[in-house]
């Protein structure tokens, strides 16, 4: 009987990732029983707790500290910066760059996600039915996601090169003249977004594909018998049944895309001008991108970025929890 209770409770916490809502009562007796071993549990968790305190909490606190002081490079080393309160935040919000960085971030994120998701979903549906070579081909699709970002970004830079890039060479075959993908303010943001879409397709494909595996074949068979074609099946079965997984994929993608630095930085460094400067790039550039590090504004932008990410992050957890509860 104890075994049964324990297995049940154990399964309840399989989520582990905070998505578990095990019923409280059956947990209680177990807690009391294991009271003596609570120190053992803490002992095993101590490395993690110390680690989190030193390498997560402390850097984050330092970051907040940076954003409410006026740090120049001297004060940075000596640690005697003036306290300025919200002033850094006021300056960032009233900066002319803020609106541009915000719209760039919104464009980069929303367009990336929209295409990554729809292409990933289309491919997941395509790969759902087994056909010869489907497994190895699906594995190859993971490739872009596994490559170091700097590798992909530099490859895309060279492909989009104005004079010698393969993309312009290909387009010229159709009579399209030279496009300065990365060096003209009109197309730079589009170009980095394009590269980022390519990078994100594998992630969406893998998650959505595993979501599709959970839809029983019988549902499709029944629909086929009722005379529903593939298009009808997608909109009446796949899409609605995949909605919870889709929501999670989208939100997770959103949180990940918000913090992208590598791709943009390697391809355009936020330029030309500030046409590809997102919030993350802005923060990176202020702190590390110029010869003169300006940590206070950088940390301020970083903290704003955290707030936006957490907003969607909490939404993600909420959704996941609701899905779990059903």
């Amino acid at each position: 009987m104890t075994t049964l209770a324990e297995t049940k409770a154990g399964r309840g916490s399989t989520g582990g990732a905070g998505r578990d809502v095990p019923p409280a009562p059956p947990n209680k007796p177990r807690r009391r029983k294991s009271h003596g071993t609570q120190w053992t549990a803490i002992g095993f968790a101590v490395p993690l707790l110390a680690y989190l305190a030193m390498f997560y909490a402390y850097p984050l606190w330092r970051n907040i500290d940076l954003s409410i002081h006026d740090y120049n490079i001297r004060a940075f080393v000596q640690g005697d910066a003036d306290f300025v309160g919200w002033q850094n935040y006021v300056e960032i919000f009233s900066s002319s760059l803020f609106m541009q960085a915000l719209t760039n971030t919104a464009f980069f994120t929303i367009v990336s996600i929209a295409f990554q998701f729809s292409l990933g979903l289309a491919l997941a549906v395509f790969f759902r039915n087994y056909f010869p070579l489907s497994a190895p081909l699906r594995a190859l699709f993971l490739m872009p996601w596994l490559l170091p970002l700097i590798v992909s970004a530099s490859t895309w830079s060279w492909m989009l090169n104005s004079e010698n890039g393969i993309v312009n060479s290909f387009l010229s075959a159709f009579g399209i003249g030279q496009i300065n993908w990365l060096t003209s303010p009109e197309t730079a943001l589009l170009s980095v977004t394009l590269a980022n879409i390519w990078l994100g397709i594998p992630f969406n494909l893998v998650i959505l594909y595993s979501g599709l595996q959970n839809i029983p074949d019988e549902v499709y068979e029944a629909a086929s018998l009722d005379g529903a074609g593939p298009w009808r099946q997608f909109w009446s079965i796949t899409f609605p049944l995949l909605r919870p997984v889709s929501a999670i994929t989208l939100l997770l993608g959103l949180v990940y895309t918000l913090k992208v630095v590598d791709v943009i930085w390697v391809m355009t460094a936020g330029g030309p001008g500030s046409s590809t400067t997102t919030l993350a790039i802005w923060s990176y550039r202020e702190a590390f991108g110029t010869g003169q590090p300006d940590f206070s504004p950088a940390a301020t932008v970083g903290n704003i970025l955290i707030l936006i990410a957490l907003l969607f992050g909490v939404l993600h957890l909420q959704l996941q929890r609701r899905q779990e509860a059903r």
Partner: protein
Amino acid sequence: MTTRRAWWKTGLGLLFTAIMLFPVYWMFNVSLTQTSDLRSSPPHWFPWAPTFEGYQTALDQQLPALGTSLLIGVSTVILTVLIAAPAGYAIALLNLRGGRVLSFGLIVAQMIPAVVMAMGFYAIYVRLGLLNTIGGLILANSTIAVPFGVLLYTAFMAGMPKELLQAARVDGAGAWRTFISVVLPVSRNSTITVALFAFLWAWSDFIFASTLNRNGDMIPITLSIYQYIGNNTTQWNAIMATAVVASIPATVLLVLAQRYVAAGVTAGSVKD
């Protein structure tokens, strides 16, 4: 009829894969191109006259960087597993109080942008003298993998058959003994997944390397490629050759450990 239709899908699949992997092919193609042909118009679609001069240059200059990346990757894996495995054990099997709050915190931790972490680390490392050190970079890199590792271990260990643990208890094994001789061996697949991702993330890291280690004597391959691009933009065959070499771990892992990759991607997000 079904087979014919299936093969038709295979053809389409091959086409999609070809389009998707074109940039990877292009990297490979450029890496084998003669320097004199790099700027030819139109570019050569196939490496008809392959040359290894790009690889020659790349290996002459990049071998130390590759070694550094390997060292960083392996150390990050060890550090990550050392911290994550016992923590997963404590949360999943020893009923650590506040385990759920901790798990929640770890999910949130994964959402913190690396730029922000880099600034925090920079501010701390300046004082501690850890800037431009390999150790500092390993610590920073592990922050990407530790939350993921703990969550993955917790999820797996919580589903472990309880009979196993009871048997160990009956045999008189303590918590430590149970962990070492029962829980860890059974969690082998989780360890492989965690190690794989920790290695890949550390190997691919650019943000921490370019902020915490930019003036270091030993720089990882990602930073080396970046500096390469900045210094000389004419030798793209050498740059792409370096990029190909830097992609080797990803390729090897894709071939050898594909199922662990898929498992890791989904574990981080959706319960299947």
